[in-house]
């Protein structure tokens, strides 16, 4: 429901920008966190706050693939099937999950949801983690280096309420909680997880083993360049 409190938060987002309309994308993320999808009420509220028509809001909401126009499950599972992940195993992972979750069809082209409303499964495009292929995103957290078996395991864990953690982040929250962070509201979890996953560090480790470094800066007192 779009309560007065939600409208106040929508206004707060718009006020972050020199021109309020710049807030529309995060405002729509906030609508999803409250409504579970882009609802007509949510679009109308955004339009009211910004002084634009619902049609103008819908024109934007329908353009971006993260906005869903049908209710999403607690966990949005996106399997990368862009070329590299697909070749490395993403296609096989998606097939196995479709089968396992019994969600064959995707009637709206924005993922299909299990009968218990827990999982929405979709394929996604490159998510900038190719060195961890095949990659699956859950509520936009990284699950790196997946196999069909590991993917079945984590969706089963999610459905039965067991804790699942991102490979490079915190325990997976719900999709609605994630959408709230995307709207710019802190959930206090920034300090969870590692600095970097193993693949992010391979070059640095090889450089250290070989004693390789960037040249010393001319005039640097310790001879070590600073980042």
């Amino acid at each position: 429901m779009i309560t007065d409190d939600v409208v106040a938060e929508l206004r707060e987002i718009a006020a972050r920008y020199p021109q309020p309309r710049s807030g529309l994308l995060p405002m729509l993320h906030l609508v999803q966190s409250h409504e579970g999808y882009i609802s007509a009420d949510g679009m109308a509220a955004c339009g009211d706050v910004l002084g634009i028509t619902p049609a103008e809001v819908k024109a934007v909401a329908s353009f971006y693939s993260m906005y869903k126009h049908h209710p999403v499950g607690d966990y949005l599972v996106g399997v990368c099937t862009n070329t590299l992940c697909a070749v490395m195993g993403g296609d096989a992972i998606l097939e196995r999950l479709k089968d396992h979750l019994e969600v064959g069809t995707d009637p709206h082209g924005e993922g299909s949801t299990t009968a218990d409303g827990k999982i929405t499964l979709e394929h996604i495009e490159c998510n900038a983690a190719c060195d961890y292929a095949p990659v699956v995103m859950v509520n936009w957290e990284f699950l790196d280096n997946q196999t069909p078996e590991s993917a079945v395991q984590f969706v089963d864990d999610l459905r039965s309420g067991r804790e699942v953690s991102s490979t490079r982040g915190p325990k997976i929250c719900t999709w609605r909680q994630a959408e709230r962070v995307l709207a710019g509201f802190d959930d206090g979890l920034a300090d969870e997880g590692p600095s970097a996953g193993p693949a992010s560090l391979v070059g640095l480790e090889i450089a250290r083993q070989n004693g390789w470094a960037a040249p010393a800066a001319s005039g640097a007192s310790d001879g070590v360049p600073s980042a």
């Binding site: 983690a129 060195d131 992010s200």
Partner: protein, 438 residues
């Protein structure tokens, strides 16, 4: 001669809690800021110009020159917008950088904003990376609390506000003018240029749009000098590719990951560092700079990965997104999948791109399934000809790259699909986990 790998941006990624202000400051973070504030804004621009830093988002435009295009006599506010919408297939450098060391980017944002005399800056980060967004938001809060952002920064009288803005899923928003439309709260569609963003960008005001890695490179240049930066990289009569960059290796190599090296390192050197192609296989094809750059084969293993050499060899350095495919991979399948991506991501504004990418998908589907005809290859090249250079932005151009280059190098493999009545490859053989039990 610099070392083979030169970690600068990646140097602190293994530090304990590297993402925090404490860890960054312990390594000398935010010292470049005072050095920059001791200079005039024009001198900072001259320093970055002298370093030879070129845009790390793909196009390679000189960063300092871009800053100098901001008309300082224009009374409107000036804006800095960081393009952190990393979405080009294969590209995976900015996301780990912002996760491990968001303060490096923020320090660069402050220096760049000071140089172009902007008082409001934005980091436009793709929405699909929740934890990276948490780290960025948190780092911005820390920077405000420490007096690196806000009013009267470091007592200089300089003010800067920085907003972290999460996108909502659209590859096209990595194109700078589409990004600006998106940041203004509209559908992300490219604008006709000119006017360029430097003249009429965000809110029709003078705007610099720079890639995240470009901006993150700035503090090291201020700290260590233009000559230091230019001592890495390559120079030829065709031009100069100065400095270091993050090279992202993915696919069928033993140790995929991020390798920070001077521009000009070769794929042969990088594959050696990565432990070679996976056991029992050999390199078949690779992208030098993401899927929008024409593919290469083993023939280009020794091409220096700098702007000039990669261009001379028929492709583009792009984002140094090296996707490596071995001999188990079907090139037709790979190209079809990339083409489906471009068809999905075409924003629909320009007819040649919107319609052309869809037609290419249909032709490629037939070819992959073995139901096409030999003339379809000529048809595909004709479709590419009708897209390339005929749309507002480079998305359509990029869509033609895998098609034309794969036909150039692998025509026989396309035809083998026709004689074979379908794909001759076993997709299970390309996966990391082998055959999938039914």
């Amino acid at each position: 001669m610099p070392d083979t790998l030169t970690p600068v941006l990646t140097a602190n990624w293994a530090d304990e809690r590297s993402w925090t202000l404490d860890a960054y400051t312990r390594r000398g973070g935010y010292a470049a800021l005072d050095k920059a504030f001791a200079m005039s804004p024009d001198d900072v621009i001259e320093l970055v110009k002298a370093s030879g830093l070129r845009g790390r988002g793909g196009a390679g435009f000189p960063t300092g020159t871009k800053w100098s295009f901001i008309p300082q006599d224009n009374p409107r506010p000036k804006y800095l917008v960081v393009n952190a919408d990393e979405s080009e297939p294969g590209t995976c450098k900015d996301i780990p950088m912002m996760m491990a060391t968001p303060h490096t980017l923020i320090e660069g944002v402050i220096i760049a904003s000071y140089a172009i005399r902007s008082h409001t800056a934005f980091i436009y980060v793709r929405g699909e990376v929740l934890h990276v967004i948490r780290r960025l938001q948190n780092a911005v809060r820390e920077a405000y609390a420490a007096g690196h952002l806000g009013q009267n920064i470091h007592g200089t009288g300089y003010d800067l506000d920085l907003v972290v803005h999460a996108g909502a899923g659209a590859y096209i928003c990595g194109e700078e003018t589409a990004l600006l439309d998106s940041l203004e709260g509209y559908r992300g569609q490219p604008r006709l240029r000119p006017p360029f963003p430097a003249v009429a960008g965000l809110y029709a005001s003078p705007t610099v749009v720079n890639n995240a890695e470009s901006i993150a490179s700035v503090p090291s240049i201020v700290n260590n000098g233009a000559a230091w930066f230019a001592s890495m990289g390559t120079e030829s009569e065709k031009g100069k590719s100065a400095g270091f960059g993050i090279f992202s290796l993915s696919g069928h190599v033993k140790r995929p990951g991020q390798y920070e090296a001077p521009l000009g390192i070769t794929l042969r050197e990088l594959i050696d560092l990565a432990g070679g192609i996976r056991e029992g296989h050999e390199l078949k094809f690779w992208t030098p700079g993401g899927s929008s750059t024409p593919i290469f084969t083993a023939a280009q293993l020794d091409t220096p990965l700098d702007f000039e050499s990669v261009a001379a060899a028929g492709s583009m350095l792009g984002t140094r997104a090296l996707q490596i495919f071995d001999d188990t991979t079907c090139v037709v399948r790979a190209v079809l999948r990339w083409t489906e991506f471009y068809a999905h991501e075409s924003c629909g504004k320009c007819t040649p791109c919107r319609e052309g990418t869809g037609w290419m998908v249909q032709v490629l589907q037939h070819l992959e399934a073995g139901t096409g005809r030999e003339q379809d290859l000529a048809l595909l090249l004709d479709q590419c000809d009708n897209i390339l250079g005929k749309a507002f932005c480079a998305l359509g151009d990029g869509a033609t790259s895998p098609v034309t280059s794969s036909i150039q190098y692998f025509r026989a493999e396309y035809l083998a699909h026709l004689t074979n009545g379908g794909c001759p490859f076993d997709p299970a053989a390309s996966t990391l986990f082998g055959a999938v039990p039914a």
